[in-house]
């Protein structure tokens, strides 16, 4: 009986001291969890690089903790619980595989705010975020269309998932927009996020068949890029500027800037306006941009690419505007129609001019 009365009292005292702490301007604790070891390019590098943007913008007002090499599984559960127990206010999860753990944690800790990159489920305190990488890949496609001499592009891609298909389709549409003579684009699916020897072999295989621009679409390592440099063909990359791995042959990169979105989310937490929404950010928000353009492109070509980027920024151009044909001959996007966000996120076709078939 005694205890039943005491429990709410205790709760009230605790919550008072909690709000007192907030008024005392305790810095906000932000934690970023990355799934793999941090390299100088690629997914985990970008996930963690967002820290710099946060520190620059919020300075003393926040504390940012970064933990890497936390793949999905029991270890991730342990690390996340620990972070929350240590008073983390905003948790940024950098792996699709962190989804179920993050959701469970968000349900248990209503005070916690979670930003999950790459997922598709939301809660009032669990927001998701995906980049419109396809916008940058359209621009890199233009660069590839300009640069190819053999009219043959090759792509080393991870998994045929909707996001990857979107990026691939936009890339090919971009190349076709500046080069009507393009041969069907060759694609090798790694069916893996991570397999450096196969990245390399895939690039070699494409080069042996005449491809002179290799697009490294989400393999976890710069192997395909380094291979392109070694064999003297151009490399196009996703997520990070890979110029260091292909000093002479880096043609174009879709550069992701996750930090812009982190900063918006942290600001919303400070303002008390955080929502568990689904953020889909691209060129307009500054979350994607074209980077590392090759010196081999002419001034006019660069200008055309950057002009397209500006058109994407002000909303006057969208890569997925019809008419667009499917590569099995049917119409994918009707004339005059533009795909909306959910249609882009559930893309299940390849555009005309891609020499690959989707199974099932």
């Amino acid at each position: 009986m005694f205890q039943i009365i005491r429990a709410p009292l205790l709760g009230a005292v605790l919550s008072m001291s909690w709000s007192g702490a907030l008024f005392a301007q305790e810095p906000l604790d932000v934690a970023i969890v990355a799934p793999n070891a941090i390299g100088d390019v690629g997914w985990d590098h970008e996930v963690v690089r967002g820290k710099e943007v946060l520190e620059e913008r919020f300075g003393e007002k926040i504390n940012v903790t970064v933990i890497d090499s936390v793949g999905e599984g029991p270890n991730a559960t342990r690390v996340m619980n620990r972070l929350v127990a240590n008073g983390t206010d905003v948790l940024i999860l950098g792996s699709f595989g962190h989804m179920s753990d993050g959701l469970a944690l968000a349900k248990r800790s209503p005070e916690l705010k979670v930003l999950h990159i790459g997922g598709y489920q939301n809660l009032p305190n669990f927001a998701t975020f995906t980049t419109r990488h396809y916008q940058a890949s359209y621009l890199c496609g233009m660069a590839a269309g300009y640069a190819t001499k053999n009219q043959q592009l090759g792509v080393v891609a991870a998994f045929p998932l909707p996001e990857v298909l979107g990026i691939l389709n936009a890339y090919v549409l971009g190349a076709q927009s500046v080069n009507p003579d393009l041969k069907p684009v060759k694609v090798v699916w790694l069916n893996a996020w991570y397999d450096p020897p196969r990245d390399r072999s895939s690039a070699e295989s494409l080069i042996s068949q005449g491809a002179d621009v290799i697009y490294s679409l989400f393999p976890g390592t710069p192997s395909a890029v380094a291979t392109a440099e070694e064999k003297g063909v151009y490399a196009v990359t996703t997520l990070s500027d890979n110029s260091a791995h292909a000093p002479t042959k880096h043609l174009c990169a879709g550069q992701a800037n996750f930090g812009v979105v982190y900063a918006d989310v942290v600001q919303s937490v400070i303002d008390g306006t955080f929502e568990g929404k689904d953020i889909f950010a691209g060129v307009a928000e500054g979350a994607m941009e074209v980077a590392g353009l090759s010196k081999d492109l002419t001034e006019e070509q660069r200008a055309a690419i950057l002009a397209k980027q500006d058109a994407m920024r002000d909303g006057s151009f969208d890569p997925f505007t019809g008419p667009v044909m499917n590569n099995n001959g049917s119409e994918a996007i009707a004339s005059g129609k533009t795909l909306n966000s959910s249609e882009i996120k559930s893309m299940d076709f390849l555009v005309e001019g891609i020499d690959s078939r989707l199974q099932n």
Binding site: N36, A37, I38, G39, D40, V41, G42, H45, S69, G154, P184, K186, V187, V188, W189, L190, N191, Y194, D195, P196, P197, R198, D199, R200, S201, S202, E204, S205, L206, S208, Q209, G220, T221, P222, S223, V225, A226, E229, E230, H245, D355, S356, R357, Q359
Partner: protein
């Protein structure tokens, strides 16, 4: 189409090289009756060391040397456990393998996702200009030639030399070998060191020549494939070499077929090497005589010489 076939036939040698080196090493170890399951860990540790050293110094020979040293050092830990303290071989091998993987992450931490240029392949004059054969056989890396030479020499050593026969006797029945006056422990130690040297070379090759770069998890199960190849080749070096080449070709075939735009479900192609392994292992296991003739009888059993 011809390009694709040549690409696969030539590329398979390169893909097979780390598998072959590690598998030959493991075959010799198993021939003395010791099962060393730390191949994956030794390869990973050697790969990290080879990349780190070569990246820093630009000296690939030094990189290979230190990589082999690292691999051998790990195998000495295994040797102490198994030969001196008669610890369970399976458990010790797994433990040392996990240690190797951990050390590879540690050494590779500052080199994550870095790449470098691969050294040029050896193209002997005349031979490399032969049509077709030249393209397939004679434009490979020095280590690839070495790997196939090692397979041949190991066959010759085991089948044709006195020391080879002694090695096999140790694996068949260490007690008899001991009674005949052979130093069982010392022979097993040499075999383990040889195995580690080969794993080290294979790992170093993977991170400096096959895929000149480092990322955590680079070896990605190739050490386990090597262990499976030993059974696949029924402990015979030349069969192991054939198996490694076949595996290499299948690993590449998947990618090359896709690049031609040919429509085979990629999942089928990707799983083909593993399906093949299971089929061959099943076929090999069905033939009890083949296993009985070739498998070392004392495999996995420790031996402690009585005074």
């Amino acid at each position: 189409m011809m390009d694709t076939i040549i690409f696969v036939l030539a590329g398979a040698f390169a893909t097979a090289t780390p598998l072959l080196l590690a598998a030959i090493g493991e075959a010799v170890v198993e021939k003395t009756g010791v099962m060393n399951l730390s191949v994956e860990g030794m390869m990973a540790f050697a790969a990290a060391v080879a990349f780190a050293v070569t990246y820093q110094t630009g000296n690939i020979v030094l990189g290979f040397g230190l990589a082999v040293g690292a691999s051998v050092a790990l195998s000495l830990v295994f040797s102490v456990l198994v030969l001196a303290f008669s610890a369970n071989q399976i458990v010790s091998g797994l433990a040392v393998g996990i240690l190797g993987l951990g050390l590879s992450s540690l050494v590779g931490r500052n080199f994550e996702n870095l790449t470098m240029m691969a050294p040029a392949n050896l193209s002997p004059p005349v031979l490399s200009e032969l049509p077709l054969v030249g393209l397939i056989l004679f434009q490979q890396n020095a280590i690839t030639y070495l790997a196939f030479a090692v397979a041949f020499l190991t066959w010759w050593f085991l089948a044709r030399t006195r020391h080879g026969r002694i090695t096999k006797v140790v694996g068949e029945d260490p007690a008899i070998a001991h009674n005949l006056g052979f130093a069982v422990i010392r022979i097993r130690l040499f075999a383990i060191i040889f195995g580690a040297t080969m794993s080290g070379l294979g790992g170093a090759y993977a991170s400096t020549i096959l895929t000149p770069g480092w990322s955590d998890g680079l070896i990605a199960g190739r050490g386990w494939i090597a262990v499976a190849l030993v059974v696949f080749g029924t402990w015979r070096p030349l069969r192991i070499a054939f198996g490694a080449y076949l595996f290499g070709a299948l690993l590449l075939g998947d990618l090359a077929v896709q690049a031609t735009g040919f429509s085979v479900p990629p999942q089928i192609m990707t799983s083909l090497p593993y399906v093949m392994t299971i089929v061959v292992l099943a076929a090999v296991s069905r033939n009890a005589l083949l296993i009985r003739l070739n498998a070392p009888v004392s495999l996995g059993q420790n031996f402690r010489p009585s005074k």
